[in-house]
């Protein structure tokens, strides 16, 4: 069972308290009706499915209830970091050391 750091509670807690919530940094357009079909398709359906580092959302559903973002490796399942919703995407190279 993963241990996940909630950036709001500032505590590292068991996965069972959290719910996965899909890819992060998918921003709903300001004016969806102004989007072309292609742009709307992109927003609604197209997701990355990387083997490796992945920016994704989690919710501390059985805790503070906040949605937050995480950078996690989908192969090792390891979290590089978690950060609050609205904060910029952290740079992967900060976590990969010299190999990046």
């Amino acid at each position: 069972m993963l241990l996940i750091h909630c950036p709001y509670c500032e505590e590292t807690l068991p996965e069972a308290e959290f719910a996965y919530a899909g890819q992060a940094h998918v921003i709903r357009p300001e004016n969806p009706s102004g989007e072309t079909d292609e742009q709307w398709e992109e927003f609604l359906f197209i997701r990355e499915n990387p083997k490796g580092p992945h920016y994704e959302r989690w919710r501390h559903i059985h805790g503070c209830g906040r949605f937050f973002n995480a950078l996690r490796d989908t192969v090792s399942d390891r979290f590089y970091t978690t950060y609050k919703a609205g904060e910029p995407r952290p740079d992967l190279s900060d976590f990969l050391g010299d190999d990046a």
Partner: protein, 1002 residues
């Protein structure tokens, strides 16, 4: 004393005889025996029949890796367990055990005819044998598969035992209490750290228990072991026996199952049978040792053929000779020591046959001293003997040519194909493996977890090497915990080091097509099957595994994986690391459902949510149905009524006078804040700005894809406060969705969301007399059409309780929903019930609610919709605030595929021509005479017999249905085809006149 017990050998207590039964016959063993060691002490090798061919089988191992000797164990009613390994089950007086997969008896088995029909069951037989002819499926194949499927027999009674569950946090968890694990524990002990050592066996010591000849630091091994365990315990190390680490999960969480009572004569009161431990360890030392590999040759499964190391364990740990005239076939030095130990204990070793041409001089000398015949450069090509091996055929091999065979008479065969590091838990960590060409095996490489692997588990051999490795690896772990220390050193006398070579199936002079050389004993997979799978096109080891079922039995290929890989990669013409190993998955050994379930059984299996009014419903004879986690009153039968009769009565009473319904399970969310109305405008399809406080509106929630997610009546209590109701099952989902948009898309909105489902008891009153009944209880509002019209809400007092009163209807009748603080729900219900007697008030359940709403065409999200239905598909365009710049789902509804209205399935009513009731879920076609397979154009979503309408009604999704009013569609059923007319969804009172309170009604 039995004839195969050796005086002065072993750790069992022969002064304490233990009687147990096997297949009804009583046997005597010694305290400390397993079922297998006790049966072997009695000269019994035949312990079971194999799964596919029903071939006679005996134990080939002495531990948890045993594939063959699976038995049923019984301890009175309910305590029957199939597939217990006889090599693990400890005996106690009165234990009843039975063999498996035999009919009518273990010694004379009818199913063994499968063995003769060998050709029928070769690789991929699941996919081939049962395919043709099709007519055979029902009468021949399926009964055959059902009879043959599964190992053993499932217990039928409830398990009277209890199972516990615990968490444990420690600094260091050491898995395996052999020399590596104990040395690691010694190194870590006394440093102020919490150290836990677990071992699946009844006794700690691992290989030391089988090697009493050794000395450790000058002390005889068993004396050293005894004092070492006492010292570790005194130093505060937690030692757990009979505890199997079944799985290694993320972030150093290890699942362990502790068996507490299976070995006890008398069950202690209030003790669980097993305990599941969820351990979170800062560091883990895996010291699980190595497993011996069988050799693959024709007849290598005959009872009496056994792993050499296991024979050594039976002798040294249990004081049992597995035979008196053993023959040895090996490719590894270790089997030679087994032979020597048996010879020294009184057996007469018939021959040591080694596949290698060159064997160490000291081994040859030791054999010579003992007068044992040695044959190097030989292969084994067959065994003979009906239910027990009686001879072994061996042949010389020179430059790849197999020479003439000779038979060696024997009563057991000890085999060794070398040793495989036990990498199961390491593999659970997603640890990488590296192929070692010299040892022809995989060794552990890097792992993402905080863990090290020590001893034979990483290919080391000999007690001294393993002890010192355990200590060294422990220092790495201690350094990581900032408790650096020097490793203690160990010196071992009489250590048995050795090496060997790895064989595929042994060379033979027989036709390879006829050889039954088993690789996977439990699933009856032979070398021939593996080669056939490759010939038939399987290229990946994962495909070979699934096609042949090699390694897929309950032993998870502990013995067969590496042999299978060696053979498959040879057939593929590739190196083993290019072919790769199949994935090991938890649990390491078969684990009871009880251990996983723990406390979650019976009443504790799942939460049952009950409303405050539930006890009243129970006292008044309600039949309940589960809805999500809620238990809801389904209907209230009176005097032996059937469900249909009760529902019919409840419907009529509600339509004619007044019905009372517990609606407390409705999801309720309080949306509050200065931006509450803006939030509602964005979330729901409807416009909310102009909804005045004190008014309600039916709200529709879509996903951004445009499909209906949920619905419910929403009341505006004040400018900044909405009382949102959701479907019973959708409450949590809706709140999550609202929070998602609020927190991450519109964090600028000043809104608070609170789940209030359980804060309110909600009582619905419906019927022409509802207002009359309720009015005398209400203070603060007059219940007339003028003062409190349909779709009003108000905060008021009802029967003296503070209340939120809604004038809403899910029945088409005059309706009210009274929300009072939850604890007052029952009191209010009873007051209304009492006052309602003058109107013949009738309590109704969810079934009546469904019928009444269907008569009015009110949808149930999740029943009439399925996540692919838009508001326009349901003819609910009126619920959409088209003038709003945006709401969740607005852009989705404009997708070209959803705009193509005529080609979408629409929700419509159906009335059958013959007045029969349709099946919910039944498929619909336009042309019943078209050839098969027919084009299906929709399905029935709701269907009820209704007394009100005097006929059955149905709702259905039908392609283009809204443009086909009056058309006939067809519902093909197994026995006939039903025709039905498409209608609107509102069957009753389309002008909504029944909703109105007439003068004098209140």
């Amino acid at each position: 004393m039995s004839t195969y017990r050796v005086t002065g050998k072993g750790r069992v207590d022969t002064s304490r005889a233990v009687n147990f039964t096997f297949d009804g016959k009583t046997y005597t063993g010694a305290a400390g025996d397993t079922v297998a060691s006790a049966l072997l002490a009695n000269g019994v090798h035949l312990m079971g029949r194999s799964f596919k061919y029903h071939r006679p089988r005996g134990a080939i191992a002495a531990g948890s890796e045993e594939p063959n000797a699976l038995i049923g164990t019984r301890r009175g009613a309910g305590r029957f367990e199939p597939n217990t390994r006889a090599t693990v089950q400890e005996i106690w007086p009165g234990l009843e055990t039975t063999s498996q997969n035999k009919f009518p008896s273990l010694k004379w088995d009818v199913g063994a005819v499968n063995d003769a029909a060998y050709m029928l069951f070769s690789a991929g037989f699941y996919y081939k044998t049962f395919m043709w002819p099709k007519s055979f499926w029902d009468k021949v194949y399926e009964p055959f598969i059902r009879a043959a499927a599964g190992l053993g027999v499932s217990p039928t009674e409830n398990d009277p035992d209890t199972y516990a569950s615990r968490y444990l946090h420690c600094d260091i968890l050491i898995v395996g209490a052999g020399p590596a694990g104990l040395a690691a524990a010694r190194t870590a002990a006394g440093k102020g750290l919490s150290v836990v050592v677990v071992d699946e066996n009844a006794e700690m010591g691992g290989s030391i228990l089988s090697e009493p000849q050794a000395t450790i630091n000058g002390t005889p091994a068993w004396d050293w072991l005894k004092s070492e365990l006492a010292d570790l315990k005194a130093a505060g190390v937690k030692l757990m026996t009979r505890t199997t680490a079944i799985g290694y999960y993320h972030e150093n969480m290890i699942g362990m199952v502790e068996k507490l009572t299976d070995h006890l004569t008398d069950l202690p009161k209030d003790t669980p049978r097993e305990r599941m431990w969820r351990v979170r360890a800062k560091q883990v030392v895996l010291a699980q040792g190595a497993l011996e590999k069988p050799l693959v040759f024709h007849g290598n499964d005959r009872p009496g053929v056994m792993l050499a190391g296991s024979a050594q364990t039976y002798l040294n740990r249990y004081g049992v000779l597995v035979g008196k005239r053993p023959a040895v076939i090996t490719s590894h030095d270790s089997a030679w020591f087994s032979a020597f130990d048996m010879q020294d204990a009184g057996a007469k070793v018939q021959a040591i046959v080694d596949t290698r041409h060159n064997v160490r001089d000291d081994l040859l000398a030791m054999a010579r001293e003992r007068g044992i015949t040695v044959k190097t450069g030989h292969t084994a090509t067959a065994t003979a003997g009906r239910l027990r091996v009686s001879k072994l055929r061996v042949n010389p091999v020179n430059s790849g040519t197999v020479g003439a065979g000779e038979w060696i008479g024997c009563d057991c065969v000890l085999m060794s194909g070398g040793w495989t590091p036990s990498l199961h838990l390491f593999s659970h960590t997603k640890g990488k493996l590296t192929w070692d060409e010299d040892m022809t095996t995989f060794l552990p490489d890097e792992t993402p977890e905080d863990c090290v692997i020590a001893g034979a588990g990483r290919g080391l051999w000999g007690i001294e090497a393993v002890l010192n490795d355990g200590a060294t690896r422990a220092t790495e772990v201690l350094e990581a915990l900032s408790a650096a220390t020097d490793a203690p050193t160990f010196t071992v006398g009489e250590d048995r080091t050795g090496s060997g070579i790895t064989m595929r199936e042994l060379p033979t002079d027989r036709s390879p097509g006829k050889a039954k050389a088993f690789v996977d004993y439990q699933n009856d997979v032979t070398a021939k099957d593996l080669r056939l799978a490759v010939r038939e096109g399987m290229r990946s080891i994962e495909h070979v595994k699934r096609y042949t079922t090699n390694g897929m039995a309950t032993d998870q290929g502990k013995m067969s994986n590496i042999n299978g890989l060696n053979i498959a990669s040879d057939a593929l013409g590739k190196r083993q690391p290019e072919v790769g190993l199949t994935t090991f998955r938890p649990p390491y050994t078969p684990t009871t459902f009880g251990a996983f379930a723990g406390y979650h059984r019976g009443d504790h299996f799942e939460v049952t949510r009950k409303t405050q009014i539930d006890p009243w419903a129970e006292a008044n004879g309600a039949v309940f149905e589960p809805v999500g986690q809620w238990r809801r009153a389904w209907y209230f039968p009176k005097g032996g009524e059937t469900m249909d009769q009760a529902v019919s009565r409840e419907c009529a009473a509600t339509r004619n006078s007044v019905g009372i319904f517990d609606a407390s399970t409705l999801g309720k969310i309080e949306v509050v804040g200065p931006d509450a109305v803006e939030f509602m405008n964005r979330m729901y399809t409807n416009p909310w700005t102009k909804l005045a406080p004190g008014r309600c509106r039916y709200g529709l929630l879509l996903g951004d894809d445009g499909f209906i997610r949920d619905d419910g009546v929403i009341g505006r209590l004040s400018q900044d406060r909405f009382h949102v109701t959701t479907t019973t099952g959708g409450a949590a989902r809706v709140l999550n969705m609202m929070e998602d948009y609020l927190q991450t898309e519109w964090p600028d909105l000043n809104v608070w969301l609170t789940s209030t489902t359980e804060q309110w008891s909600t009582i619905a009153l419906n019927g022409p007399n509802a207002a009359k009944l309720l009015a005398p209880f209400v203070e603060g509002v007059e219940l007339t059409e003028a003062t409190f019209p349909h779709m009003s809400c108000v905060e008021c007092t009802v029967a003296g309780f503070p209340a939120r009163l809604f004038r809403v209807s899910f029945t088409g009748e005059i309706g009210f929903e009274v929300n009072v603080p939850a604890p007052h729900g029952r009191a209010l219900w009873e007051k209304l019930w009492e006052a309602g007697q003058q109107y013949g008030i009738t309590a109704y359940g969810t079934e009546t609610m469904h019928v009444l709403r269907a008569e009015k065409g009110y949808i149930i999200v999740g029943q009439d919709t399925d996540g692919t239905v838009t508001p326009y598909d349901c003819d609910m365009g009126w619920a959409i605030g088209k003038a709003k710049p945006d709401f969740v789902g607005k852009r989705g509804l404009a997708r070209p595929d959803l705009m193509d209205h005529s080609n979408r399935k629409h929700l419509v009513g159906l009335l059958t021509d013959d007045n029969s009731k349709l099946e919910e879920g039944a498929q619909i076609v336009f042309d019943p005479n078209q050839p098969l397979p027919m084009t299906m154009v929709g399905h029935v979503t709701s269907s009820y017999d209704t007394g009100t309408m005097g006929r059955p009604i149905a709702l259905a999704l039908v392609k283009g249905g809204l443009e086909k009013m009056g058309d006939t569609v067809y519902i093909p059923m197994p026995d006939r085809t039903i025709s039905a007319k498409i209608t609107g969804t509102v069957f009753l009172d389309p002008e909504n006149s029944r909703l109105k309170i007439k003068e004098g009604d209140a």
